[in-house]
């Protein structure tokens, strides 16, 4: 079973994931945005195409926790609505970072039935057991690192903007 590399292993070493992803996030100004909605909207502006965030059922998803499907009209990000909200955040952010970094499609997934099956697909699968190559794994590591950095920025001091004003 091929495991998604831990981005920590690559920080400041032979494969500088962290530096590249941090630079892309900073260039997009995503750290200043206090909400997931703001981040996805900014990524949509950079990508030049609408991004649709969809919470869907999970019966057929197995270990798939997030999915990016690129169609000619829009980018679609799916998360499982039965997953905890906090977990869905990191899954949505993971897919958004794929889009931000311009990762290509090379991962056809026939297991997921969808009417827009001709599009680009990139799934988030903990444990990375779907047979990705080395390069694919690095894409996943970049997306996962970026997702966690963005999650940190959403949780920084002051936290929830509504709570900051009313709490």
């Amino acid at each position: 079973m091929a495991a998604v590399p831990d981005p920590t292993d690559n920080v400041d070493s032979q494969y500088p994931i962290a530096e590249r992803v941090d630079a892309a996030i900073d260039e997009a100004g995503l750290r200043e945005l206090p909400t997931l909605a703001g981040i996805i909207d900014r990524v949509a502006a950079i990508h030049g195409k609408p991004i649709r965030l969809e919470q869907v059922g999970d019966d057929e998803w197995g270990t798939l926790t997030g999915l990016w499907v690129e169609t000619p009209e829009m980018s679609r990000i799916f998360t499982r609505r039965t997953d905890p909200v906090a977990y869905q955040f990191v899954c949505a952010l993971h897919e958004a970072v794929h889009i931000l970094l311009g990762h290509p499609s090379c991962f056809p997934t026939d297991e997921i039935d969808d009417e827009t099956a001709t599009g680009v697909r990139r799934p988030r699968t903990p444990g990375g057991s779907l047979g990705q190559s080395g390069r694919q794994l690095s894409y996943e590591a970049e997306a996962e690192y970026g997702a966690r950095v963005l999650a940190q920025s959403l949780l920084r001091a002051g936290d929830n903007p509504v709570e900051l004003r009313f709490g």
Partner: protein
């Protein structure tokens, strides 16, 4: 009614006091802090704590206090609405000019009222058949309804306890204002039996002050929830980190996360292991994980708090449901 006014003042004053430390620390917290303070002052002018004659005397003793009271109430609710609107993704901001208009417009007809009687708590009821008094009341109540509706819409989609209390309070203020406007209009037109007036007036007082109390309780609920979570985070983090599975992976970010951020990383990593089938949690461990996930979800500003499927499209220029 004096008891209700005193209770409302107490809730507002309490909310103001617990907001002050946050307001000193965070600029964003100042709107609601000042709003609760001004709200408390507005209630103070009702006379249940300090006699109205004492407060109205420096203003000439001819009920100018009523205008001060309604102006304070309008500014207070405007500040609360502005705080909510500032974080509502689709809401248009209300600028300072809107505040000036809202406060100044009712003042113009108020100054045209023939105010000959000395300070009286029922000054407006006694003079409502003067047309300027009715216009003043209508503009004031209309402004209250407008601002309360803006507040209500700014909280649309939020399901925290605090948000529900604030929305409930805003609804009560809207209902009370409509009731009072109906009362004043009937009196102006002399259209209904006089027995309706005290009933409608009592309904206004009851619903309005309960609404203010409920809305302020929402602010207190937000404050309490945050304080409780800040107390919980280090404890829940220690609990999770003491579990054997939490030792498996290092934190994969370069900058040191906050305690809440660290809790998030441990939680996501643990949930990944569970989803991948690499980790079986005991019931106690699962309880701890879920508790951590709940704390994090409440810390994320736009976390969907509901379980139904949602679809949101982001165009790069704002979201469209």
């Amino acid at each position: 009614m004096e008891l209700l006014e005193t209770a409302t003042f107490t809730v507002l004053a309490l909310a103001f006091c617990i907001r002050v430390p946050r307001a000193l620390k965070y600029r964003e917290a100042r709107l609601t802090c000042v709003g609760t303070g001004l709200g408390a002052l507005a209630i103070l002018t009702l006379g249940s704590i300090i006699p109205q004659s004492v407060l109205d005397a420096p203003l000439g003793g001819h009920n100018l206090l009523k205008l001060v009271q309604t102006s304070l109430a309008l500014v207070a609710i405007w500040l609360g609405a502005q705080a909510a609107i500032s974080v509502a993704p689709l809401a248009h901001r209300m600028n300072a000019i809107s505040l000036l208009v809202i406060v100044a417009l009712p003042a113009i007809p108020f100054l045209l009222i023939r105010r000959t009687e000395p300070t009286n708590a029922h000054f407006l009821d006694h003079n409502i058949r003067q047309f300027p008094a009715w216009v003043y009341a209508t503009l004031y109540l209309g402004a209250l309804i407008y601002v309360a509706m803006r507040l209500l819409f700014a909280f649309r989609g939020r399901n925290e306890i605090g948000a529900w209390l604030i929305k409930l309070g805003a609804c009560a203020i809207i209902i009370a204002s409509i009731d009072e406007e109906t009362n004043f209009t009937i009196q102006l037109l002399s259209a209904g039996p006089r027995t309706f007036a005290p009933v409608l007036s009592d309904v206004f007082n009851l619903v309005f002050y309960l609404g203010v109390c409920t809305m302020t309780s929402g602010i207190v609920a937000y404050t309490s929830t945050r304080a409780l979570r800040e107390w919980q985070v280090p404890r829940v983090l220690d609990q999770l980190k003491s579990e054997p599975f939490a030792q498996h992976r290092a934190v994969p970010v370069r900058t040191a996360p906050s305690q809440l951020g660290e809790l998030y990383l441990v939680t996501v990593t643990t949930r990944d292991l569970v989803v991948a089938g690499d980790l079986q949690l005991t019931r106690r461990q699962l309880r701890r994980l879920r508790r951590a996930e709940r704390i994090i979800a409440h810390s994320l500003s736009d976390a969907p708090q509901h379980k139904t499927a949602t679809v949101t499209t982001y165009t790069g220029k704002g979201k469209h449901d």
